[in-house]
Amino acid sequence: MEYLELFFKSIFIDNMVFATFLGMCSYLAVSKKVSTAVGLGAAVIFVLLVTVPLNWLLDQYILRPGALAWVGEEFASYDLSFLSFIMFIATIATMVQLVEIIVEKFSPSLYNSLGIFLPLIAVNCAILGGSLFMQSREIATIGLATVYGLGSGIGWFLAILAIAAIREKIRYSNVPAPLRGLGITFIITGLMAIGFMSFGGMLTGGDEETKEAPKEVAVETSEIEKTKNKETKIIN
């Protein structure tokens, strides 16, 4: 149950793109066509699925305060957490290269459809963000970390798929000239994000949900609660 909850939470409520704006650069740059968007989305799911559990292990056994206790008594007091940025990004960059080599060797057809996106992924904030959120939310077990990686990846995939489909259609619409291209994409993403906020009540059911709201996103959670209470009042 815990796994399922985290899975759906990371897809819908804490959606990488709509709730935390991670991976926006590639999200905006590669969403012109559905087919390329699917390729990049699949690559992101895959890399998140691999790197989040890996970085969880790193965090658990090397970085966090007291994590080195397994090496010996005298190491128990070490706190290497200030190194986490550099360790995480090194893991990600290495994994991406490794995945690229393996995929090229064993499945050339997959490499042709996915390969060009892999170098892009090393600098995709969604990947590093996945690991950093995993650390700051203190996810407890490696199983949960894997589920979190998978869920976040799927959430990102859904977001880029949706915006690519909309952008393919919007070409036939009469958008004001200065907004064409980038401007309208921003505004549509904003509207989609507002839509995704309504998933907030999904897990705990309606009125009590505000406690579950993503803490990192908004600085003023109390303000959000106020507006949400207003909304529910209006609905009632």
């Binding site: 709509f18 709730a19 935390t20 704006f21 991670l22 991976g23 926006m24 650069c25 590639s26 905006l28 740059a29 200030f82 190194l83 986490s84 940025f85 550099i86 990004i89 090194a90 960059a93 290495t94 290269q97 170098p119 090393a122 600098v123 995709n124 904030c125 990947i127 590093l128 963000g129 950093l132 959120f133 700051s136 004001p176 000239a177 200065p178 907004l179 064409r180 291209g181 980038l182 401007g183 309208i184 921003f186 505004i187 993403t189 904003g190 509207l191 994000a193 507002i194 906020m197 990192e216 996103v217 908004a218 600085v219 003023e220 303000e223 959000i224 106020k226 507006t227 207003k230």
Partner: protein, 214 residues
Amino acid sequence: MGLLSKKDSKLILDPLADNNPITIQVLGICSALAITAQLKASIVMSISVLFVLGVGNVVISLIRNIIPSKIRIIVQLTVVAALVIIVDLVLKAFAYELSKELSVFVGLIITNCIIMGRFEAFALGNGPWRSFLDGIGNAAGYGVILIIVGFFRELLGSGTLMGVKVLGDPIEKTGLYAFGYENNGFMLLSPMALIVVGLIIWVQRSRNKALIED
């Protein structure tokens, strides 16, 4: 601009408007939008990026002839990560509350596309001084957008600027609130950052028709 030649000052001034990293080059949006609910956080973020990009560009430009091109991405990431750790530790030491608010977004400066983008596009092919100017210019262009977005979101969302209540007190009904003005709590929610940037792009491209995409 006695100190800078015309070409050099162009490096700084161009990214501020017509070649702005956020609205034109579409770089560095990732970590930018989530922290703009408050003006103070936007300013701190801009300064952090200014430091990382300015110094990083110089370092990469100095070692550009030594880096083997195959592993250059890893080298670049290591340089940025080291600089970001410095920023993170400084923030934790001198502005702990703020660093809590920025949470993971300080770390995400590492994967801010603006930084990798400038390394790849400029620092790898130019000398240290010009790279430094380019870094400063682009980071300033990034900061300008962040500060504009932060200004409007904080003013309309919570009626304050840098935490100072400029519109009066909403509870005691002074200032504007005496006339029935209400804060628009919606502005504090993350989706509004996207829409505000969309509107900035609209304004900018209406003023300069050459930037319109077809």
